[in-house]
């Protein structure tokens, strides 16, 4: 039992299970799954599907945080990618060159390309110009939504092109397509990090940048690549979001996403100080956040409670991670040795 709870994923998993169980107790239909039109339906599938964009962004954020970085521009990058995708489709359709699936692939390519570029820009500012990560990504966070509005001309772009809806609303093998995107990214990253030396390098840079440099780890090349991936993951999330609602809102898409992503990462047991990270934990963290939101919606509490609940959750998780707080709590629990009178 003790060894079970020493596993890094035990606590996040326990939290998720507890949340789901509480839901199941108060609302017996909550955990039910049913097959309708050959697709699997139910709250559990719904939670996983809605958590997909956050899960993607959080995986990118995990890698950046693992090297003592931070990317607060992900929400803005998501908005840029969504806008670029919508813009590409509307322009190809207006130009009369909307043959078959061409606009779909053009939109995906353009959105992901721009998002990767945004990530690379952040990475170069951090790794080459030597800026603090929060400052470097603040620049794109401030300017990004302005750029997205520049592309969309300040309008909410609506997408009427049917094939695009598949990304965010389509089903594959009875499951939402978005889940396959998340699974693919997760497995690819896992292979890349565990089967090559990359995972080791990332941990080395996060643990001790100076020692990693002396050991010959090329942080100057690895860090921009990680930021690039973080931008790319925000771009993928942008595709999912804009496809799901068939529109791109430069001003509001991905609002406060950076905060949710950081919350998911820290819930999953990744140290915000770098070095120790867990991709699986991050996925569970994203699921916890979405379950919390769904719970609050389904209990009929005002949706605004969500913000407060998340804030309290962050505080609790942070305090539990702080060594000094744990000491204080333990000394409260343990009876003090009686001092000689």
């Amino acid at each position: 039992m003790r060894r079970l709870f020493a596993h890094p994923l035990a606590w996040p998993l326990a939290a998720l299970a507890l949340l789901l169980l509480a839901n199941g107790l108060f609302n017996p239909g909550f955990l039910a799954l049913q097959v309708r039109d050959g697709h699997l339906y139910g709250n559990l599938i719904d939670i996983a599907n809605r958590a997909a964009p956050l899960a993607l962004v959080s995986m990118g954020m995990t890698l950046v945080i693992a090297v003592r970085g931070l990317d607060i521009s992900v929400g803005a990058v998501l908005a840029i990618a969504a806008t670029v995708a919508a813009w590409t489709i509307t322009h190809l359709e207006a130009g009369g060159s909307a043959h078959g699936l061409l606009p779909l692939f053009a939109a995906i390519g353009a959105a992901l390309g721009i998002a990767a570029l945004c990530g690379l820009w952040n990475g170069l500012l951090v790794a080459r110009a030597g800026m603090q990560p929060i400052v470097a990504t603040l620049i794109l966070m401030v300017a990004g939504r302005g750029l997205a509005q520049l592309i969309s001309d300040g309008q909410i772009l609506t997408i009427y092109y049917a094939p695009y809806a598949f990304i965010g609303r389509g089903f594959l093998l009875g499951l939402p397509f978005a889940l396959f995107v998340v699974a693919f990214v997760f497995v690819a990253l896992k292979l890349l990090l565990d089967r090559t030396a990359l995972g080791l390098f990332v941990r080395a840079i996060g643990d001790n940048p100076a020692a990693a440099r002396l050991a010959g780890v090329r942080a100057g090349a690895i860090m921009p690549a990680l930021y690039l991936f973080c931008g790319l993951s925000a771009g993928m999330a942008g595709l999912l979001v804009s496809s799901n609602v068939a529109s791109a809102d430069a001003n509001n898409a991905g609002q406060l996403l950076e905060l949710d992503a950081i919350l998911a990462v820290s819930l999953g047991g990744t140290a915000l100080t770098g070095g120790r990270f867990s991709l699986a934990g991050t996925l569970i963290g994203a699921l916890i956040i979405q379950t919390l939101s769904t719970t609050i919606y389904s209990t009929g509490l005002p949706p605004q409670v969500n913000l407060v609940a998340k804030a309290l959750l962050v505080v609790v998780v942070l305090l539990l991670q702080a060594p000094r707080f744990r000491q204080q709590m333990l000394s409260l629990l343990r009876p003090r040795p009686r001092s000689p009178a």
Binding site: D153, P302, V308, K310, A311, L318, L319, F325
Partner: protein, 332 residues
């Protein structure tokens, strides 16, 4: 800034100022402001009216107050992302107390200022006692304050209390032009902050912590209490800005001042304060806010540019000033 410069020739002092990154950065900001104002004056008619410049202060009074509090936080090497949310919470609290519960505005304002200060202090306590990253703690604070604001009222509350209306309408004449109560309050805050930063033990401890926290502890400075007080000060400034915002907008709404924390950080950075802490001036923040305000004024005067250009220009300025800071720090 030691006393030995009294005997030194002025050229030496100038050379020293040129080596001080904060002073050099401040000089760049002030020149930028003057250059922007001049180009605006040549390009657009009626730009050089005194009221145009006083309006910069009137329209950005709350930003100036928030950014002043933020300057102290950043000088210690921290950051406070909760300020925009605290402003929104204050506007909702004020409007709700006055309009729905029959409080006198002055009583409600006093309560709001206290609430902001206590809120800031508790975040400071968490940051200081448990060594939690300021970025994440104040992020949680941002969620909490926004959430609390929506719990008080989801809808915007309009204010038509007589006292509040009179306060909003009051104008203090300055030559041929005039200032609002909010602008005067903001200027008082800036002047007190300059005194606080330059000539009190608190101010010097703030700079010492930003320079090197460990050394500050070893020097016997009250580091722990100063960090808590810095966040309390920022919380107070945010609440005061919320009060000014309520007077300026005559409404309380949980979505007021979204993204204000970004503008405040941008103003501090453009004003020449190093984000790593320890170096910067409150006057710089004043000019940072004025530059941000001037960008908006220029875009409004032009009339053909869309509002999103404001964000893009602020982003570009932020980039330039961050790169400039890197250069200056490296040269030192």
């Amino acid at each position: 800034m030691s006393g030995t410069s009294a005997a030194a020739p002025p050229r030496n002092r100038l050379a020293r100022a040129a080596r001080d990154p904060a002073a050099l950065s401040l000089a760049v900001t002030v020149s930028l402001f003057i250059a922007m104002a001049l180009s605006g004056g040549f390009a657009y008619q009626g730009f050089f009216a005194p009221q145009v410049f006083l309006n910069l202060l009137i329209d950005n009074a709350f930003l100036l107050v928030v950014a002043t509090g933020m300057t102290f936080v950043i000088l210690t090497g921290g950051i406070d992302l909760s300020v925009g949310a605290v402003v929104a919470f204050t506007t909702v609290l004020l409007a709700s107390l006055v309009e729905h519960h029959g409080w006198h505005p002055l009583g409600a304002m006093a309560l709001a200022l206290m609430a902001g200060t206590v809120f800031g202090a508790s975040m400071g306590l968490m940051i200081q006692r448990y060594r939690l990253p300021p970025f994440v703690v104040t992020l949680a604070g941002m969620f909490l304050a926004r959430g609390a604001a929506t719990l008080v009222s989801v809808d915007s509350i309009g204010m038509n209390n007589g006292f509040q209306m009179a306060l909003a309408g009051l104008r203090i004449p300055v030559g041929s032009a005039s200032l609002s109560v909010g602008a005067v309050t903001a200027l008082v805050v800036v002047v007190s902050a300059i005194v606080l930063a330059r000539s009190t033990q608190f101010g010097r401890t703030v700079y010492a912590i930003g320079g090197n926290e460990q050394s500050a502890v070893l020097m016997g400075l009250p580091v722990a209490s100063t960090i808590v007080r810095v966040y309390a000060l920022s919380g107070f400034c945010a609440a005061l800005a919320g009060v000014l915002y309520t007077v300026y907008m005559l409404s309380g709404y949980s979505l007021h001042a979204t993204g204000l924390e970004l503008d405040a950080i941008a103003a501090v950075v453009i004003g020449g304060t190093l984000l790593s802490g320890g170096s910067g001036h409150v006057v710089g923040t004043l000019f940072g806010v004025l530059v941000l305000g001037l960008i908006q004024t220029l875009i409004a005067f032009d009339g053909t540019l869309s509002s999103w250009w404001t964000r893009i220009v602020i982003g570009v300025l932020l980039l330039l000033f961050c790169l400039l800071q890197r250069l200056l720090v490296r040269r030192r």
